[in-house]
């Protein structure tokens, strides 16, 4: 039995790095301090080790050769960065898309509306630890982090002791904004109900109020106005919203309205908008694509250089028949439905954890380990803080995604 401490969990965007992983006889038996999502994400560390070429078992060498052929034969290849891969793998993947003059998109595109809004307005934000240090008022805007980001409150925004919050939870006031079904945390100190269809109007009215203008005279907006008065009285407001899509489609203006409100509040007090992002190192994909291409998602190398087509991400391209081969790197299980559905109709190469179990039929599937469990590297927390990965099962005869993707890259670069 052995234990690895300070392990980073990619089960959600919180990327908690205080997990102690216990390994017994090559199996992961415990992930201490991990939440439900984290426990599920670590599992027992057992991953399949298959290589399948057109449905049959094959060697890695043949798989790489076949993958290279599928991709170079394609007219319109797509590279897709799924979850559970390190930034190092993502960097090689972008190089492959550049080489193929193909399109590339990633899981980070699921929060594309927020990215686009931030590209119009910027953002008023903070790393999670700064919320912990400073926030005296935390407003959960239609989200209870307990469900999708279980340790967010405990580690970052609410419970933890901070420099300006010496008593942790009791140093802060927590407000839950309920937007219909999308409710804030149950144990909030105050609740504000806003009709979901009036959400963006409420955000606008709040911002107008911050700027000293009277906007919505609608009585339904009164609670929102009262809330913003409270926000302007705080020393440091954390405004927390979920950037990932939920069951109800979000108003496309919501992200922009949230950003603009957070920015405006900084004229009167301090405010940081914390947008919750999912796990699997999707923030890393956003960061890597940005530094290598200048664009965070939905990039197209078709012209011989990166162009940005945020309205034509992987799902739209697949649905529009604009992809004839795809390279999916990462765990197929993390794919959004819209992408997974589209992949069924094109020749794909899947490299990543449980690639052989992909719900569609890849031409080539190479199983690899999971970043952070079987191999190291870097991953980004939802707030763009980079963290090292500490694989508890490294070297346990699990194929490395890093080496596999590098081999494919070298093959493509050498062969063209």
């Amino acid at each position: 039995m052995s234990a690895v401490e300070h392990v980073t969990c990619l089960g959600c965007g919180c990327a908690c790095d205080d997990i102690t992983v216990v390994v017994e006889r090559g199996r992961l038996t415990e992930a201490q301090r991990a939440c439900v999502l984290g426990t599920a994400w670590f599992g027992d560390g057992q991953v399949p080790q298959e290589i399948r070429i057109r449905g049959r078992a094959g060697t890695l060498e043949r798989a790489i050769a076949e993958a290279a052929k599928v991709l170079t034969d394609a007219q319109r290849p797509l590279v897709y960065l799924a979850g559970d891969i390190s930034c190092e793998v993502q960097r090689d993947a972008v190089a492959i898309a550049d080489r193929l003059q193909g399109a590339i998109d990633s899981l980070a595109g699921t929060a594309g509306a927020g990215v686009l809004a931030a590209q119009r307005r910027g953002r008023a934000g903070a790393t999670l630890g700064e919320l912990r240090q400073r926030a005296d008022l935390v407003v959960f805007w239609g989200v209870d982090p307990g469900a999708r980001y279980p340790r967010y409150s405990a580690r970052y925004a609410v419970d933890a002791v901070g420099l300006a919050a010496p008593a942790g939870r009791s140093s802060r006031r927590v407000i839950a904004v309920d937007l219909g079904e999308a409710r804030g945390p149950a144990d909030a100190d105050g609740r504000v109900a806003i009709r979901p269809d009036a959400e963006v109007d409420a955000l606008g009215t709040m911002r107008a109020t911050v700027q000293g203008r009277v906007a919505g005279t609608n009585a339904a907006l009164a609670p929102a106005i009262a809330l913003v008065h409270e926000m302007t009285q705080a020393r440091y407001v954390a405004l927390v919203a979920d950037a990932e899509p939920g069951p109800i489609p979000l108003d496309p203006d919501r992200a922009e309205a949230l950003i603009a409100l957070a920015q405006a509040l900084n004229g009167r007090t301090r405010c940081a908008l914390s947008t919750l992002r999912g796990g699997g190192n999707r923030s890393g994909a956003d960061a890597v694509l940005t530094w290598q291409t200048g664009f965070p998602f939905a990039v197209d190398f078709g012209r011989g250089y990166p162009t940005y087509r945020p309205h034509a991400g992987a799902a739209e391209r697949l649905a529009g028949g604009e992809v004839d081969a795809a390279l999916v790197i990462g765990a197929p299980a993390t794919l959004p439905d819209s992408v997974a559905r589209g992949l069924a109709g094109v020749a794909t190469v899947a490299i990543g954890p449980r690639a052989s179990a992909a719900g569609w039929n890849p031409v080539v599937a190479v199983d690899t380990g999971v970043a952070g469990i079987h191999e190291g590297g870097t991953a980004f927390r939802m707030d763009d803080v980079p963290l090292p990965l500490r694989p508890a099962l490294e070297g346990e005869d699990v194929r490395s995604a890093t080496a596999t993707v590098r081999a494919l890259r070298e093959r493509l670069e050498g062969g063209a």
Binding site: D17, R120, A126, G129, R134, R235, Q292, T293
Partner: protein
């Protein structure tokens, strides 16, 4: 041609100020990536007769990699779309990569474009320790330049606590530990104390500091104490580059007084004051700006331990990106442009606002003039480095144009006529500064000087033992043209630019320090981490 292991760069007119060589026709010999005194007669030759030979350029202060730079990139898709950078055609080595430009180019494009200007070393000037790992990853993807970064200190809560407690030695050891664990090159201070105040929240006056003796939380902590502590630490740790200071009150009218006070506070110690142009204004808050360049540069001229880089403003698009969060909030409020603010836990801040400097705008014209005044009134070029604080004052691509302004008085006077004169009263530039930089002086302010100030003994000169980083220019009366397109650039012995074309893009080396310090400090820092940090002590920094 492929790059031979040995090469004689033959017959050029050499400018190697570190060795007192000022325009002498001689050969430069390269072997195995370094400069050597001589080569056998039969060694391969590169005939550069009639051309100007200098060491590779060294950028002492630019924002090219890391989390704030990447926030800026993400913010500017419109610039990237407008400035595509197709992959260059390379002859060997790593395969070429495409990218995008604009004021904040993608990483590969950054490396290619620096080399295309004859620069072979660049320092990223502000990295939050928390994001050091990110900065290294980006620098790994930035070919052709040897690079390192300055790590941000001076608003970090651990340090402020040590200052409050009078623990100067522990503060020094902490700095030593942090430099090592983040694999940084030097200590950077941005708006000492001001960012911490900005982050502490609340309304009213508590949004920044305005003077060297303002209290930062505790009255024992002031910008002055922060400067003294960190300047002392850098010197005590024997760092190759002294503390690198972005003063309080950046961009404010009347800030020259603060700048001079900061310099005096550190009198007798080595210290580097960066983007001095942004800190050399007279006038008064609310009553307008004027130039105070003369006063500031006069002090620099008289104090040999002070070094500066200018942070010249050039007309056109820029992106302001800095750890100085409160300044960016002001700029956002006044410009109405998009704005990024990121408070970085326990350490520092980050603010970004895209900006344009316009000839017809009075403040832009003043900033342009102040920068030129600093250059032209500086008496010791070894301590006044050429920079634009890329991409804050302008992008590094404007260096050739800046060089022309320094070397060509007629051109400069002509440009001066076209700018808004409203705030230029009292500017020495308006009185007609006759000085024209020589090629030798340009070689100092773009290479030899910054290399010396950085303590990079193997950079910025062409003597034996130096890295074989050499730039060859075809002379042109239009100095902007000459410096924009070197004929040859040799990086670590590899010919990376041939006949003006980028041909190779080897990876650059990382420049980092690992100072000695009393490791006992780690225990205390760990305790602080356990109490407050969201990243485990063990996961902090950038060590593999």
């Amino acid at each position: 041609m492929t790059t031979p292991a040995r090469l004689r760069i033959a017959g050029g007119t050499v400018y190697d100020p570190a060795h007192g060589v000022d325009g002498v026709v001689r050969d430069v010999c390269i072997e195995g990536g370094g400069i050597v005194a001589e080569l056998p007669a039969g060694a391969p030759r590169l005939d550069v007769r009639g051309m100007v030979v200098m060491p590779g350029g060294v950028d002492i202060h630019a924002h090219v990699a890391g989390s704030s730079v990447n926030h800026a990139r993400r913010l500017l898709p419109e610039e990237h779309a407008a400035d595509p950078a197709p992959a260059p055609r390379l002859v060997d080595g790593p395969p070429p990569r495409s990218g995008t430009g604009g004021t904040v180019p993608s990483t590969f494009a950054t490396g290619y474009r620096y080399a295309g200007l004859g620069y072979t070393t660049a320092m990223e000037a502000a990295v939050a320790p928390l994001a050091a790992r990110h900065a290294h990853a980006e620098l790994d993807d930035t070919p052709l330049i040897d690079s390192g970064f300055f790590v941000l200190l001076g608003n970090d809560d651990y340090l402020l606590r040590q200052i409050a407690a009078g623990e100067t030695a522990r503060a020094r050891d902490y700095a030593g530990w942090l430099l090592g664990v983040t694999r940084a090159y030097a200590i950077k201070i941005v708006n000492p104390g001001g960012v911490a105040v900005w982050k502490s929240g609340g309304a009213g006056g508590g949004r920044n500091v305005s003077g060297l003796d303002d209290a930062v939380g505790s009255s024992a902590v002031t910008p002055r104490k922060i400067l003294e502590t960190l300047a002392g630490a850098a010197n005590a740790l024997a760092l190759p580059h002294p503390v690198h200071i972005h003063c309080n009150n950046l961009g404010q009218p009347g800030n020259a007084a603060t700048t001079l006070e900061s310099m005096r506070a550190l009198a007798g110690q080595r210290a580097h004051f960066t983007h001095l142009q942004f800190h050399s204004y007279g006038g008064e808050r609310g009553k307008g700006w004027k130039s105070a360049a003369k006063d500031v540069i006069e002090y620099v001229n008289g104090h040999a331990q002070v070094s500066v880089d200018v942070g010249q403003v050039m007309f056109g698009s820029a992106t302001t990106v800095t750890a100085d969060g409160p300044v960016e909030h002001l700029l956002y409020a006044s410009s109405g442009r998009k704005w990024v603010n990121v408070d970085i836990e326990l350490e520092t801040g980050c603010g970004i606002v895209p900006y344009s400097y316009r000839e017809k705008a009075a403040v832009s014209a003043l900033q342009w003039a102040v920068g030129l005044e600093l250059f032209l009134l500086a008496q010791d070029p070894w301590r006044v480095v050429l920079s634009t604080d890329h991409p804050n004052g302008a992008t590094f691509l404007s260096y050739p144009e800046l060089i022309r302004l320094l070397m060509d008085r007629a051109y400069r006077d002509d440009r001066l006529k076209a700018v808004n004169q409203k705030l230029l009263a009292g500017s020495a530039l308006l009185d007609g500064l006759a000085r024209e930089y020589t090629l030798g002086e340009i070689a100092i302010v773009t290479r030899a000087g910054p290399a010396r100030l950085l303590g990079l003994s193997h950079k910025g000169h062409l003597g034996p033992g130096a890295d074989a980083d050499v730039t060859v220019y075809a002379p042109d009366a239009d100095r902007a043209k000459m410096f924009a397109a070197p004929r040859y650039v040799i990086k670590g012995g590899a010919i990376v630019v041939e006949e003006g074309q980028l041909r190779r893009a080897p990876a650059g080396a990382r420049l980092a320090v690992r100072p000695d310090y009393d490791v006992a400090v780690k225990k205390d820092v760990r305790r602080f981490f356990d109490d407050y940090a969201t990243v485990a002590f063990e996961n902090y920094g950038a060590e593999p």
